[in-house]
Symmetry: C2
Subunit: 195 residues, 2 copies
């Protein structure tokens, strides 16, 4: 056995955890989201950029506005989930770097001039943090239903601004019903090569 | 306490885990990498794309070629780490979708025509998997030193091909010495808003 993490934690976070498409009525509290964030905020990003921003869609009106921008197949489950979060990347993350990376004061200047560089970096590092967040949702005993099927420009205009790019929409709650059989994964020998 | 994951696992994966810049001489085995992959391969990606590809740089010659493409500040630690991995995203991931998403045979056709759509999707979903991989390295009791400071085009030409985009280079091993004090993180109220 090459892993140090105990088997129950392996199961909770990866092996038994499944993307959920249906949930019980049990609410997801702000305290749970705070606990998830306060754990996964420590996940590493390049230059400690931490560009992830999270919008919790709680009011019925906001939920309705979001559902309109989801792909047809994602609408019913997004309307019904106990909580829905829009995960986005802040392209102006560099404004916070003097505070986030005090031992490297030049960091902000590295990103000041080139917005396309910031866009690429925010996308990659925001996605890293989105993955940590999904792992954190599972660490809270909840299930995540991450979705990429939505009108990104529509969601951005409705809930964000030009400086925030949507990464995904995530349904969150206690899972209900049985998931479909797990889809296959690539074998390690198809993914890992050695030089 | 809002989390279900036990405190030791929280510490191992997030709270006590730190990016490492120096390592002991203890080797990192193929069995360890296999165990990491076989755990984190279950992390979710859009349409089960799983575009992450991993190149383990083991031979002295390959290590030397890689170090040349690293930023100056990353060279010494990349030369000295027990193992170095290049994480890349496969832009042609859609070729595997008929096998990876058997319940949705239309998936491949969704990506067939538009390479820019695949590039964006591979980048985001490859980054999700890179984050799962970093969590998995920690689950194996190892430390990761992920780096974005390298000549991406150079690394791509040297080790990959036009269909594989480098995401990051990761040093892997048992950490040595004391890390610098942890950099600050944004407070939950700076990151999470509710609508």
């Amino acid at each position: 056995m090459s892993l140090v993490l105990d088997a129950a934690a392996q199961d909770l976070l990866f092996r038994e955890a499944r993307t959920a498409n249906a949930f019980t009525d049990e609410p997801v509290t702000d305290e749970q989201i705070r606990a998830v964030y306060d754990l996964v905020k420590y996940g590493p990003t390049a230059y400690n950029q931490t560009p992830l921003r999270i919008t919790l869609v709680r009011s019925p009106g906001a939920r309705e506005r979001l559902v309109r921008h989801m792909s047809e197949g994602n609408r019913a489950k997004t309307a019904a989930a106990p909580l829905v979060a829009i995960l986005a990347a802040d392209i102006e993350f560099h404004e916070e770097l003097p505070r986030l990376l005090p031992h490297f004061p030049q960091a902000k200047a590295m990103y000041d001039t080139l917005r396309p560089v910031r866009e690429h970096s925010a996308l990659v590092n925001g996605a890293l943090q989105a993955a940590y967040f999904i792992v954190g949702i599972r660490a809270a005993g909840l299930a995540a239903g991450p979705m990429s099927g939505f009108d990104s420009v529509g969601v951005q205009k409705e809930f964000l601004d030009d400086d925030h790019t949507p990464l995904m929409v995530v349904n969150i709650g206690l899972p209900a019903g049985s998931p479909r059989p797990r889809s296959p994964r690539l074998d390690v020998d198809e993914v890992v090569t050695t030089v």
